[in-house]
């Protein structure tokens, strides 16, 4: 069974974070919400594994600890 990765996993974390912010540059709050929603869906599809997705949904609520 695969598990959700909750330890650092992104090479060049600062660069990625800057790219994430830059994608939202110049967008209204509404457009940004829409973009975030699309991003969640794109990434969820990439993961695909329902077990991992369920763990990700739980992690995002901040109600569990690693």
């Amino acid at each position: 069974m695969s598990d959700l990765t909750l330890t650092p996993n992104i090479d060049g974390a600062d660069d990625f974070y800057a790219e994430l912010l830059a994608t939202h540059d110049g967008l209204s709050r509404e457009e940004s919400d829409a973009l975030n929603a699309r991003l969640v869906l794109v990434l969820s599809n990439h993961i695909g594994d329902r077990t991992v997705l369920a763990q990700a949904l739980a992690a995002a609520t901040l109600k569990i600890s690693a």
Binding site: D33, A34, A37, R38, V40, L41, V42, N45
Partner: protein, 536 residues
């Protein structure tokens, strides 16, 4: 226009029962001559049970209501002698388009699996379906079957007893009483029977109104299902266009909450809306307009002593997914063989408890699917709208998002997983034909499989030995011996064997699998027969 639904099909006729000195007792009374009541009555009459159908009206459904009939009900109606007419008259379709805002985001082809006698869906007005069912009743009567329909016989009181049911009936002339061994209540979503017995009907009300218009038009729209989310001609709402026979089109426009139905229904308000949708130059005529709201709910129990609820009286869903009538036919398909065994003393009355558990499982599945469609079509919160719109925007560019678009998950039959009638799966076979499943059809060298399994217990053997007939405590099971040698398309292998090289299936009269093993075993199959008839 002279419509079928304007002609009395079962006009009021005075009955001997009305003048009898003592109250007549019938074997089965069906209340309601809608699609489900008629199907129940035909099924019972075909099995030689005496049945009287009572309806407060004398004609078929006004306006079309249900239009979309799925494969499984067509297979059931085939056993009842009605499918050929439906397929001949109906419109077949498997393509559709999805629009969002001003653009088409994608189109689809349902890409049906080959090797089935019936298509995935046909579109047909409900009044035609009911007409075909009434025709079938007339045909059975001509053959001497004990079945009748009494129009303008309104049931106004009911008394439930452990071993019979009493009812009072109002007719245009007078009132009279009848007794019945069993009563099947198919009196629709507002079920007076349910109300008179004081039974619950709980669930979720959706705060929404839909304008439904059936229009006759000469237009070259193809036979496809078109669905719009948030279109320019119905901002913030949804719309559906679907073809029916005779040049009739179903148009469904979501109106939202807090509208005045009577005002919206007036032609002077409907016509401009439709013009905006269809374009100014399309000529059309309104056949039927109605406004509906909907709910998803069911009774806690479908059987109450000898009163059994089926169809909309027992459960109600939103129209998205066409699960109303389609699931009602599966109710009567599940019920009638069980009732016949119980009436003949070949199974304990407790067999009917499995009608409750199996059809409640199905009703919950239908309610779940139809609620989810409704939540996608009408997002209930700001964020659910953001996510819904994100899915639609992505679906235009990327295939992955299309399965998330939900404008109705079209009706498929329920697999009765966990039913007390199933025996443990003992074959390493395909998942789709595990115990509890509806048998998938398959083309054999001498015709389709399903008609060979209709209406009786069958022992289906594939490259396996077994006796030709098994008698077990009043139940007769006949063998259908097949071989992969008669499997020209390998559909039988694919749908019933998978990796296995042989298989023996015990199949119920409603064509659901009760048990399966790689080979015949007398003791184990006798146990499976007893289990499938509520005896262990």
């Amino acid at each position: 226009m002279n419509q079928v639904f304007e002609t009395p099909m079962y006009p009021y006729v005075r009955q001997a029962d009305q003048d009898a000195a003592t109250t007549t007792r019938h074997q089965v009374i069906v209340v309601g001559a809608g699609p489900i009541g008629l199907a129940a009555a035909i099924d019972l009459a075909q099995q030689g049970i005496e049945v009287v159908v009572l309806d407060d009206n004398d004609r078929v459904s006004t306006g079309s209501r249900a239009i979309c009939f799925a494969k499984r009900p067509l297979e059931i109606l085939d056993r009842l002698g009605c499918s050929a007419a439906m397929v001949e008259k109906g419109v077949q379709w498997n393509k559709g388009k999805v629009f969002f805002d001003e653009r088409q985001v994608y189109d689809f082809d349902l890409q049906e699996e080959d090797g089935h006698a019936f298509p995935a869906f046909v579109n047909l007005q409900q009044y035609y379906l009911e007409q075909f069912l009434v025709d079938r009743v007339r045909e059975l009567q001509a053959e001497g079957a004990p079945i009748e329909i009494r129009g303008r016989n309104k049931v106004s009181a009911v008394g439930s007893h452990p071993d019979h049911v009493t009812i009072e009936i109002d007719t245009p002339e007078d009132s009279y009483n009848l007794h019945a061994d069993w009563l099947i209540a198919c009196d629709g979503a507002t079920s007076p029977m349910r109300v008179m017995l004081g039974k619950d009907f709980v669930g979720r009300v959706f705060e929404d109104n839909f304008l439904i218009a059936d229009v006759v038009m000469e237009a070259d729209f193809p036979s496809e299902r078109w669905f719009w989310f948030d279109p320019p001609f119905n901002k913030g709402q949804s719309a559906l266009l679907h073809k029916q026979p005779d040049g009739v089109w179903r148009i469904d426009l979501q109106l939202g909450w807090g509208v005045d139905a009577e005002t919206e229904k007036r032609p002077e308000n409907v016509i401009p809306r439709l013009k905006e949708m269809l374009g100014d130059d399309v000529k059309f005529e309104l056949e039927w307009v109605s406004i509906y709201t909907f709910q998803c709910r069911r009774m806690e129990q479908f059987r109450h002593e000898r009163v059994i609820f089926a169809g909309d009286s027992a459960h109600q869903v939103s129209p998205f997914g066409a699960r109303g009538a389609n699931s009602g036919f599966q109710d009567t398909d599940n019920l009638c063989w069980k009732l016949k065994l119980v009436m003949d003393g070949n199974a304990p009355e407790s067999l009917l408890d499995s009608y409750d558990s199996e059809r409640i499982l199905a009703a919950d599945e239908n309610i779940l699917n139809s609620s989810r469609s409704t939540d996608f079509i009408t997002p209930k919160s700001g964020m659910s709208r953001v996510l819904r719109d994100a899915v639609l925007d992505l679906s235009e560019k990327f295939e992955f998002a299309r399965p998330l678009v939900n404008s109705g998950r079209l009706s498929v039959p329920c697999t009765y997983d966990g039913s007390s009638l199933n025996s443990a799966d003992a074959l390493n076979g395909p998942d789709r034909s595990r115990p509890g499943s509806p048998c998938p059809d398959a083309p054999l060298s001498d015709g389709f499989l399903l008609p060979k399994l209709a209406g009786k217990f069958t022992l289906l053997t594939i490259d396996a030995d077994a006796p030709d007939v098994i008698e077990e405590d009043g139940i007769t099971v006949t063998r259908l011996a097949l071989s992969l040698k008669n499997d020209p398309t390998l559909a039988l292998k694919d749908r019933y064997l998978g990796e296995a090289t042989s298989g023996v299936y015990l199949i119920r009269p409603d064509q659901h699998v009760a048990a399966r093993r790689p080979s015949f075993d007398d003791k184990l199959f006798r146990a499976a027969i007893r289990r499938a008839t509520g005896k262990e």
